[in-house]
């Protein structure tokens, strides 16, 4: 089961790395250029993580098998709002 694209980290990994970057930026004695680079990496990670959260479209389907044993899906009727 693939998590994320080829080079992008998973959401979890991205979040972890983001926290690492922040820690380094806040507590480490980073030289200014490295601090800039860390900041850029952090911004990029925030962007990627947001993207990952919104990526997958909500979809609910029923998984069924036909007579030949092949799978096909049908949308599952969901009720909008509960009574």
């Amino acid at each position: 089961m693939a998590k994320g694209k080829k080079e992008e980290p998973s959401f979890e990994a991205g979040l972890k790395r983001l926290e690492e970057v922040l820690d380094a930026l806040e507590h480490g004695d980073l030289p200014l250029e490295e601090a800039m680079r860390a900041f850029e990496e952090g911004v990029q990670l925030v962007r990627v993580c947001h993207k990952k959260l919104d990526e997958v479209e909500k979809r609910v389907e029923l998984l069924l098998k036909d007579d030949a044993g092949r799978f096909f899906t049908r949308p599952f009727p969901e009720e909008e709002g509960e009574a």
């Binding site: 089961m1 998973s10 979040l15 997958v56």
Partner: protein
């Protein structure tokens, strides 16, 4: 049955008497009061039926404010009133259910005011419960010993799955609850519902098949087994071995969300995670998107803040350094003066040095000139010419020398030629016969024979007179 067998301490003296009378005089029937008879019946029943097990269908179940359960146990032919007091049942696992078959344990008694006998229940369970419970325990022990429940086998759930599979009844309440809660918590996820029966004889097979199929279905990152609450029989498919093995074999993590919080099925033990309620299941499989978004926003803000702080720090540092720099302009003037001074000295010294060097050079130059090979060369050339001349001269001399020398020698030789001497008129006298040259006349005696050699010829003579002058 003798009189003694039914005597109880609550008898009045009158009854005693009557009974004795009856046993002694069969003609007179014993006449009870209602209360007395009822009481006697009660005693007999309580003694004889102090502990009974009864099975039957529960009906007319009611539970008034007191909290006690009142119901009737019945079967096709008869019925029995029963009561289950609050004190007894509040710690009991099973509660009576209208229409279900139950197994009850209790004692018979008579409620005297109404003359009704009833069963005071102190324990009940659904019929067949015992067998099921045993089967449950047996299977649980067996699978546990095989290691199917081992914690090391539990797979971690994905943090943000893209596709969740739900094995459940498509018409049950569980699926609605799950989808609603999931939509609230994390809408960006695909859900694949695999419809199965969740109770009855075919359910276990369908659930196992679902797990087999989904375990190989592309993209499925986590599987949730969901079913609402129910009795042990209702939940039984989730205690079946075929389901347990299907969960165990499944390569995808499985969450078991079966029944209510108090219900534990074997599926719960084998699964990678157990959810006591549908909302717990949703929390396990999906992260709270809103919370994650907030967290990202916070991190983003902190990031910006951290960079700003870092920049300020750098700026402060720079300012500090700048303040520590000495006033450049003042030191610039000092330096200029210093430089000029040094430059002057430098020029002077260089000049002096150069002059000295020039002198030394000139001196050396003239010395050198004196030693110039050209001079000696000229001298040498002269000497060479002279030598050459001399060589020439001496060569010529050498050439003529020997000749002259030879001539000289010749002359000398001619002069020394004894014969030349003879030419000048001298004569050589030699004593005969020896031939020795006579230089001293005294050595010769008169009358000796001598030879006298003159330039031309010789004379053999005889000596006459000898004198020393």
């Amino acid at each position: 049955m003798g009189a003694a067998g039914i005597i109880s301490s609550r008898r009045t003296g009158k009854c005693d008497t009557i009974i004795r009378l009856i046993s002694m005089k069969p003609e007179l029937p014993h006449i009870y009061t209602v209360t007395a008879l009822t009481r006697e019946i009660r005693d007999r029943l309580e003694t004889y039926f102090s502990l009974v097990w009864v099975s039957g269908e529960v009906s007319n179940l009611r539970q008034p404010l007191s909290g006690h359960y009142y119901f009737t146990l019945k079967d096709a032919g008869s019925q029995l009133k029963a009561v289950l007091f609050k004190g007894s049942h509040q710690h009991m696992r099973f509660k009576p259910q209208e229409g279900s078959q139950f197994l009850c344990r209790g004692r018979l008694t008579v409620y005297e005011p109404r003359g009704e006998y009833q069963l005071v229940v102190d324990y009940l369970e659904p019929l067949g419960q015992g067998a099921l419970a045993l089967a449950f325990e047996a299977l649980k022990t067996r699978l546990k010993d095989e290691g199917l429940f081992a914690p090391e086998l539990k797979k971690p759930l994905p943090f943000l799955p893209r596709k969740i599979a739900l094995v459940t009844s498509p018409t049950g309440a569980a699926v609605k609850d799950f989808l609603r809660l999931l939509g609230q918590r994390c809408p960006n996820v695909e859900v694949l519902i695999y419809p199965v029966k969740v109770q009855g004889a075919e359910a276990a097979g369908e659930i196992a098949a679902a797990l087999n199929d989904l375990g190989a279905f592309p993209g499925v990152e986590v599987i949730v087994l969901a079913r609402g609450g129910g009795s042990l029989e209702d939940l039984w498919p989730f205690n079946e071995e075929v389901v347990a093995r299907a969960i165990h074999r499944c390569p995808v993590p499985v969450v078991s969300a079966v029944g209510h919080e108090v219900d534990f099925t074997i599926a719960d033990f084998v699964a990678d995670k157990r959810a006591p309620t549908p909302s717990a299941a949703v929390e396990l499989v999906a992260p709270d998107k809103a919370e994650l978004k907030r967290r990202l926003a916070r991190l983003g803000a902190t990031l910006a803040g951290a960079l700003a702080r870092r920049r300020d720090l750098a700026r402060q540092h720079l300012n500090l350094m700048a303040r520590q720099l000495p006033d450049v302009r003042r030191s610039l003037v000092d330096l200029r003066l210093k430089v000029d001074d040094k430059a002057e000295t430098l020029v002077r010294r260089v000049h002096r040095s150069v002059t000295r060097q020039a002198q030394a050079l000139r001196l050396a130059s003239s010395r050198l000139f004196l030693l110039s090979p050209r001079r000696s060369l000229t001298g040498a050339r002269q000497r060479l010419a002279q030598a050459a001349q001399m060589l020439g001269q001496s060569w010529r001399r050498r050439q003529t020398e020997p000749r002259r020398h030879l001539e000289n020698c010749q002359n000398q030789l001619e002069q020394l030629n004894p014969l030349a001497i003879l030419q000048r008129g001298y004569a050589v006298a030699t004593l005969l016969p020896q031939g020795t040259v006579i230089r001293d006349a005294t050595l010769v005696s008169p009358g000796a024979a001598i030879r006298v050699r003159v330039a031309q010829g010789r004379m053999d003579c005889e000596v006459k007179i000898v004198s020393s002058e």
